[in-house]
């Protein structure tokens, strides 16, 4: 029985690979933003299913790639500018802005977000930039945490991540219990959800490079988030995108910043180890 099913699978693979040639592979192109070359291909870390990790930028059409390469045309830069205003705006009962403690973000935040999510000893769980902002706001500024995907949250996160533009993604899995969150995230990555019974890996690993209708399936990297998505004509946060993918499998969506999504963020971010932070990336 197993034999026959393998034979069937082999035939299926042969048929599909003859079709693949009609489609474009990830492009051989360099992404240079304001004179700085981004790392869009990097050798995969040990234990990664691929030999090479590839930025989603390589899977996009020329017009979309051009939008990201030109920092003036990139609409995501509007959110970087808005984020800078928020950075310098005093809020909360303690009369502080981000800049009150961190001064010039171009120096204090440079390269920082390439190492997020990181272990938070107080919360005893990994935190991302959005949660780090909320921690600062509630503990140090006497301000309220942002609502998920509030425009200010997206703009400030985009601004802070932009200070790491070009820096290669590298997580420290030795901090706290990061490794066990990575393990959990990996398990989730391969778990099929919803009525359509699909896992992250079904599209972004098993079918990477192929097309779902017109969507050229990338490796599903996180290095460009928050990303300016042409579909929404707006910044899209990583948890928004993860939820969207899960929704599309016809499953219930996990809550933003839930343990489930934080574990997935740790694992998916690790899968992009070595790629440059591209925030604000531009995607379809």
């Amino acid at each position: 029985m197993k034999k026959i099913s393998l034979a069937v699978a082999a035939v299926a693979t042969m048929v599909s690979s003859s079709v693949v040639s009609a489609y474009a592979d990830p492009v051989d192109d360099k992404l240079v933003i304001d004179g700085q070359e981004m790392i869009t291909r990097a050798p995969a870390p040990e234990g990664h299913p691929f030999k090479e990790v590839l930025s989603g930028w390589l899977f996009r059409e020329p017009e979309t790639r051009e939008l990201e390469a030109d920092s003036f045309q990139n609409s995501g830069m509007l959110y970087v500018e808005r984020g800078q205003e928020i950075w310098n705006t005093v809020e909360g009962s303690k009369g502080k802005s981000c800049a009150s403690c961190h001064n010039d973000a171009a120096e204090s935040m440079k390269g920082i977000s390439a190492h997020y999510p990181k272990w938070d000893a107080d919360a005893k769980r990994p935190i991302n930039i959005e949660l780090q902002i909320d921690k600062c706001r509630t503990q140090n500024m006497g301000a309220e945490a942002y609502k998920f995907d509030a425009p200010e949250q997206k703009a400030l996160t985009t601004f802070i991540k932009y200070q790491s533009l070009g820096a290669p993604v590298k997580l420290d899995l030795k901090q706290g219990e990061m490794q066990s969150w990575w393990d959990r995230g990996k398990k989730e990555y391969y778990t099929r959800t919803g009525q359509l019974n699909l896992a992250c890996a079904s599209c972004h690993e098993a079918s990477m490079g192929k097309h779902i209708r017109a969507d050229h399936l990338s490796q599903g990297q996180a290095n460009g988030f928050p990303t300016y998505r042409l579909k929404q004509a707006d910044m899209v946060s990583l948890h928004n995108r993860l939820r969207g993918c899960i929704r599309d499998t016809r499953a219930e969506m996990p809550k933003p910043f839930s343990d489930e999504l934080m574990a997935l963020e740790v694992y998916v971010t690790w899968r992009g180890t070595g790629l440059s932070v591209e925030t604000p990336a531009v995607r379809q």
Binding site: F72, S75, M77, L78, E81, P151, A155, A233
Partner: protein, 109 residues
Amino acid sequence: MAAKPKPRVKVPKTAKAGETIVIKTLISHKMESGQRKDKEGKIIPRKIINKFTCEFNGEPVFSCDMDPAISANPYFEFRAKVPESGMFKFSWVDDDGSVYTDEQKIEVS
């Protein structure tokens, strides 16, 4: 974005007399088409920037009349022939009558 629309403009700082330069502009705006429906199925009213103009020292250089088919965060790229040093003035007119403006100086040698 909830914040007031904010223009970004890219004009070279300097040019030679009579040179044709490239100008790029971008402004944050949803460009609500008047075609979309909200969750209750009601039409969301149209609210777009309907006109963009560029003047140099008070003289018109380029303008654009816009319909709802222009994308959110409208982008324009166009040329200008600069005879002398002076000031570019850019304005965007919103459906609600608001006008957003920006000015950029250029030194011509």
